[in-house]
């Protein structure tokens, strides 16, 4: 059964101040101690078009967006028309009385008598917070903080308008069932997936971020740029994505852990650079925020259509690791892991997110951000008396590292006068290009050996539910929350259901995954794409053919309702 939660949709045209309204309201809700899941729906334009912001809140933990609406805050007529049909029984619409929509169930607010046009938003925060019964002082404090930062000159009027809205709402009866009060949140963050990636990278010691703007990855760059100077980090907008990845590789070669955020089209342009990182054994982390493709596709919507491409991008053969966080918290943690693994194995790693998770705010406990292990500890087998070899052949395939011009702590015994030679051609241990074909074979084997080490560091799949289920849902990346909640409901309906989620999609541990699949009677893969790429991958890696899929590729986030409907319980005996 669905948890006791509320869905609020705030809708209007781009440019109407939707962001301000949503941000303040959401933050106040988080500060009040609620859990939230936010989905944003916007178009590839700056003004006009229909945009919406949907906030699900709950006193208990929640993991996914839900369908159906309890409150619609309509900044324009279109919002009412589009979203009224989604209202649940007792759902209400909040709108300006001037919008001229006659319906007794609507709360028509005389905004113009409460405040002037410009502060309409703030008033709406007052009204909605009143409906929800949020503590007024929390709301006012949140709004004050917000305006102090973004519009210091008009803080006062804004707050006045907010209070006016709040007062107007006071005492007005709504058939509306308020949520129970949550436990206090204790400094929870209101943070979205991309911001969590940015913080994760900064906490991992990232020193260079090179990017070319592309929705939905840009907010990773924006978050880092905002704090770059005080963090002592260089954030550079490149002339194109090819430059971005090569710049990051150059930076990493000289000692800066580096991040490259991008989306599908930009990632395509980075395929050659990815292969370069593989060959030169230069760590680099790519954050790939997916959107529906192919090509330009739907720039502001969500999809998981780039899995197979990310796994195989770049010509030739080289090891890589690919992570796919299933929550905002995992965005933070796996970004750190991506840096750690990139450095530990001197390989490129990829974090796959998507527009849904990128823009999805949630209430998160503050992140733990201790220092990561010192990068690439010296190989104890290599005596410091031996000359430095960039591509020293070792049992693990990983060679000790040195940065040009620097004596690195790990190889401190090596004089800083050692030279570091890296080459995109096949090369000797020293790093010089070679056409010696026996060296070639040894170098291929060396690089491939890293896969053994990588396999020992795989993030365990999350398994949840009955251990020998009748129905096993498999998923990866951002759909985890929806699958989790769907699975809960299926079990409540009496089905022996479970799910497994992979937040690392490469490499995969065949045995453990096959073990999980083997125990299930029926398997359904849940993916936001049209060809069930993950199911194919699992077949390749485990031999199991997953016959049924729940595939969503209309650009909207996966929801528990979508999954349950597609699974079609009607047609089976539960």
């Amino acid at each position: 059964m669905e948890k006791n939660s509320l869905n609020i949709l705030i809708g209007g045209e781009a440019g109407q101040g939707l962001v301000t309204l949503s941000q303040i309201l959401t933050r106040a809700i988080v500060r009040a101690g609620y859990h939230i899941i936010v989905t944003q729906s916007y178009q590839s334009r700056i003004r006009g078009g229909h945009n919406s912001y949907t906030l699900r809140l709950c006193p208990d933990e929640i993991m996914a967006p839900r369908e159906g609406l309890d409150i619609v805050v309509a900044l324009n007529k279109e919002t009412v028309e589009l979203h009224s049909p989604e209202l649940k029984p007792h759902g209400i619409v909040v709108l300006d009385e001037a919008l001229d929509i006659k319906n007794a169930d609507h709360i028509t607010v005389p905004f113009n008598s409460l405040t002037s046009d410009k502060f309409w938003n703030a008033s709406a925060v007052g009204v909605v917070s009143g409906i929800l019964g949020l503590d007024e002082s929390v709301v006012v404090r949140t709004a004050s903080d917000f305006f102090a930062k973004h519009a210091p000159d008009s803080t006062e009027e804004n707050i006045k308008s907010l209070v006016a809205g709040r007062n107007w709402m006071k005492g007005r009866a709504t058939g509306f069932q308020k949520l129970k009060q949550p436990e206090p949140g204790n400094g929870r963050l209101m943070i979205n997936g991309n911001e969590a990636i940015a913080l994760g990278a900064l906490s991992a010691g990232m020193k260079a971020m090179c990017f070319y703007p592309m929705t939905p990855a840009t907010s990773i760059a924006i978050t880092i740029c905002e704090h770059a100077e005080k963090m002592g980090v260089i954030a550079e907008q490149a002339e194109d994505e090819i430059s971005a990845i090569n710049m990051a590789i150059g930076a990493s070669f000289c000692g800066s852990p580096s991040l490259v955020p991008t989306s599908g089209g930009g990632f395509s342009l980075m395929a050659e650079g990815l292969s370069l990182a593989g060959m030169t054994e230069t760590p680099v982390v790519i954050a790939l925020a997916q959107r529906p493709g192919p090509s330009t596709g739907l720039p502001t919507r969500t999809e998981q259509g780039d899995l197979e491409f990310a796994l195989h991008a770049g010509h030739g053969e080289f090891p890589r690791a690919v992570f796919a966080p299933g929550s905002v918290d995992e965005c933070f943690r796996l970004t750190r892991k991506a840096f750690e693994i990139a450095d530990k194995f001197r390989i490129p790693t990829i974090i796959m997110t998507d527009q849904f998770l990128a823009d999805c705010y949630c209430a998160s406990d503050p992140f733990t951000m201790d220092e990561l292990d010192p990068i690439n500890a010296c190989d104890p087998e290599v005596s410091p008396d031996e000359p430095f070899l960039t591509y020293r052949i070792t049992a693990t395939g990983v060679s000790p590292r040195l940065f040009p011009g620097l004596s690195h702590e790990c190889v401190v015994a090596h004089s800083a006068h050692e030279l570091v030679i890296a080459d995109s051609d096949e090369h000797t241990e020293k790093g010089h290009l070679t056409e010696d074909l026996s060296v070639r074979v040894r170098m291929v084997d060396k690089r491939n050996r890293k896969n053994d080490g990588l396999k020992r560091h795989i993030v365990d799949p999350t398994f949840c539910g009955n251990s020998d289920p009748d129905l096993l849902l498999v998923c990866w990346g951002s759909t985890r929350g929806a699958v989790h909640e769907a699975c809960d409901e299926l079990r409540e309906m009496g089905l022996r259901a479970a799910y497994v989620h992979l937040s690392q999609v490469w490499p995969i541990d065949e045995d453990s995954v096959a073990g999980i699949l083997r125990a299930a009677k029926e398997i359904v893969s849940v993916e936001s794409n049209s060809t069930a790429q993950f199911a194919r991958l699992l077949r390749r890696e485990t031999g199991y053919r997953i016959e049924r899929n729940v595939l969503r590729y209309d650009g909207l986030p996966m929801t528990p309702e979508f999954i349950i409907e597609k699974i079609g319980l009607g047609s089976r005996n539960v």
Binding site: V233, G250, A251, G405, L406, L419
Partner: protein, 283 residues
């Protein structure tokens, strides 16, 4: 005190008689004259005959992708402003595949020195026209002669107000070494386009052809006069000017980043305390 020999003495894979040999000589001479410690220099290159040059020099090397040396060099500077970063690659690398980075690097004015081995042909892939090939240049892939206008890198760089723009000739080693030394000392981007005969694939722009035409700009030439530099950079025909054609003292890319004054990124710990404050601003 470094000896000339400390900068390396390798057997190359270049054709006998190739102009690259002399460029290599000039580079090593410049490093020697500047007494640049080999481990403080990083050579970045792309792919091509020219791009092999760093393998023949004792220094740090990143030999990356065709056309992509400039972004790598920029990234290197971001990480370690104490390195002297020198880019060496061909005309195809810089003005063909890498044209967009050429424009961007000039605009950024990164403190690197770019030495372009300009043989007006794609050497390593066996002689296709390059952006600097003269119109009508006949090759196996341009059997009717290339119909693209010749790219004049020097003039475009002057038009874009690059920090330091010079032209050298591999037939004049000492002069070239001087240009390289000046380029390295210049704070900001230094472009040195070097005329380099390719004895295997360019039967037009030969030693004789260049010798007949090249002249060294007079002592009195003022490279800070941009209008004059535009005119001089236009010269290409009976007379081809060599020397520092243009320079200015725009701030370098590095000057915009306070953190770069603090030394190599690898030596700076992550500022976790600051980050914790940032995180708190999300609550």
């Amino acid at each position: 005190m470094y000896e000339l020999g400390d900068y390396g003495d390798y057997i190359t894979a270049w054709c006998p008689g190739c102009g690259n040999h002399n460029i290599l000589k000039a580079v090593k001479d410049a490093l020697f004259k500047l007494q640049l410690p080999p481990h403080r220099a990083l050579f970045v290159s792309g792919i091509g005959q020219a791009a092999k040059a760093p393998h023949y020099i004792n220094a740090n090397v990143f030999n990356g992708l065709h056309g992509r040396s400039l972004p790598v060099a920029t990234g290197a500077r971001i990480s370690n402003p104490e390195l002297t970063v020198i880019v060496e690659s061909g005309d195809g690398c810089h003005y063909g595949e890498g044209g967009n980075h050429f424009l961007a690097a000039i605009r950024r004015n990164v403190d690197i020195t770019i030495i372009v081995h300009d043989n007006q042909v794609y050497g390593l892939t066996k002689g296709q026209a390059s952006p600097t090939s003269s119109e009508g240049f006949i090759t196996k892939t341009q059997p009717q002669g290339t119909h693209n206008a010749r790219f004049n890198p020097v003039q475009v760089a002057v038009a874009m107000k690059a920090g330091f723009v010079a032209r050298g000739f591999s037939g004049r080693v000492e002069h070239l070494s001087g240009l390289i030394q000046q380029g390295i000392k210049h704070r900001g981007l230094a472009l040195i386009d070097v005329l380099q005969p390719c004895v295997s694939f360019n039967k037009v722009n030969t030693y004789g052809w260049y010798n007949q035409r090249c002249y060294i700009l007079s002592e009195g030439y003022d490279p800070t006069d941009r209008n004059q530099a535009m005119l001089v950079s236009e010269e290409w025909g009976d007379r081809i000017p060599l020397g520092v054609i243009y320079k200015n003292d725009r701030p370098a890319f590095e000057d915009h980043f306070p953190v770069m004054k603090l030394g190599p990124a690898a030596m700076r710990p992550a500022r976790l305390d600051t980050l914790k404050e940032i995180m708190e601003s999300f609550s």
